[in-house]
């Protein structure tokens, strides 16, 4: 997983596995922001992401006896999160929200024009197929390389590279169609 989020201390994992609630709560405090952001970017819906995030940590709590620590807690945690997202995507017939609600935008978002632009980009991202969106979010926002993504998704790195290229092409087309041609930005 990305370098800015090192794996949790083995002692913390061991305490959690011994049933120490304080250790579990510390894991939640350390990891919920990242899991939450990951799920918001995947779903495009902060409410759904919050529910899924809650469900992810419930799964983590219940899996205390099943988890075998091999130094890849974050990979396992993101796999749980991805499974929750995929289950939700299968169950939900409705399209996810296409833009971040105003309340979820950082307070420093400066202008109406910027908010519009952000909404357009978020909409284009949400229009991607879930498999393409996963690759974009993991590669761009979670800063994973393709080998790490392959381990996480159980898909060959070459396939993920192809998916990423397709996702970029589709994003370019959709942003151009919405009058937000990348050339105009560069």
């Amino acid at each position: 997983m990305p370098a800015q989020h090192p794996e949790p201390d083995a002692g913390l994992i061991a305490r959690w596995q011994r049933g120490d609630r304080a250790a579990f709560e510390q894991l939640v405090r350390e990891w919920h922001p990242r899991v939450g952001r990951f799920l918001v970017r995947l779903t495009g819906c902060p409410e759904l992401a919050r529910d899924l995030s809650q469900e992810v940590f419930l799964r983590v709590y219940l899996a205390v006896g099943k988890y075998r620590d091999n130094g890849h807690f974050s990979t396992w945690l993101f796999q749980v999160a991805l499974n929750q997202f995929r289950d939700a995507a299968r169950k939900s017939a409705r399209r996810p929200a296409v833009a971040l609600p105003e309340a979820e935008l950082p307070t420093e978002a400066p202008s109406f024009e910027d908010r519009e632009r952000i909404a357009v980009i978020a909409e284009a991202l949400q229009e991607l197929a879930p498999a393409l969106r996963e690759v974009v979010v993991l590669r761009h926002y979670e800063d994973l390389n393709f080998e790490a993504m392959a381990r996480l998704l159980g898909t060959p790195a070459s396939t993920l590279k192809s998916r990423f290229a397709v996702a970029m092409t589709q994003l370019r087309e959709r942003l151009t169609a919405r009058g937000l041609a990348p050339e105009e930005r560069s």
Binding site: R41, F57, L105, L125, H140, R185
Partner: protein
């Protein structure tokens, strides 16, 4: 600058969303509920399993079940009833019966003796029959040989007779028919 850099720069424009904290108390509550549900499911499954086992046992035993209530006992039995205990034969002290038994023993002994004698006689008869057959065979062979000798003798005699007749005829002709021929 790669072709994707411009797209990625646009993606960067989406700010990191604010994330609400996870409700840990709710996690504990939900986990307890799930574990309670799971325990209830296990309990129900166990009860159902026990019920099925009891039903199978009942079905296996019920046809053979026998409940008996008598004056001083209550019996629940499955499977065939035990065979009645073997009573020892009563000891007989009646003299007439003993005498009769003695007669029966003597009769049995005599019968066995007679049977032995009959067997000996049967063996003797069989031996005699074999001997008679043997002698009969020998006599038949002797008679056949005698008949054969007789036939040979008869044929030899006939041949001799024919030779004699021929000789006589020749002699007769030589003696009595010669002068007539000269005349």
């Amino acid at each position: 600058m790669t072709p994707d850099d411009d797209i990625r720069r646009l993606l960067d424009a989406i700010p990191a969303p604010n994330v609400e904290p996870v409700d840990v108390a709710a996690i504990y509550r939900d986990a307890a509920a799930i574990q309670a549900r799971s325990a209830r499911r296990w309990k129900r499954a166990t009860c159902a399993g026990a019920l099925v086992a009891a039903s199978v046992l009942l079905v296996a035993i019920l046809p053979k079940l026998e409940v008996k209530v008598t004056g001083s006992e209550f019996v629940v039995r499955w499977g065939p009833a035990d065979p009645p205990p073997v009573q020892p034969a009563p000891v007989v002290h009646d003299e007439s019966v003993i005498a009769r038994l003695g007669e029966l023993d003597a009769h049995v002994t005599r019968t066995v003796h007679h049977e032995k004698k009959l067997k000996d006689l049967e063996d003797l008869l069989l031996t005699l029959a074999v001997d008679v057959d043997d002698r009969d065979g020998k006599r038949k062979a002797e008679l056949a040989a005698l008949a054969r000798d007789l036939r040979l003798l008869r044929s030899g005699t006939q041949e001799q007779f024919q030779q004699t007749e021929k000789t006589n005829a020749a002699l007769y002709a030589a003696i009595f028919d010669k002068p007539q021929l000269k005349e």
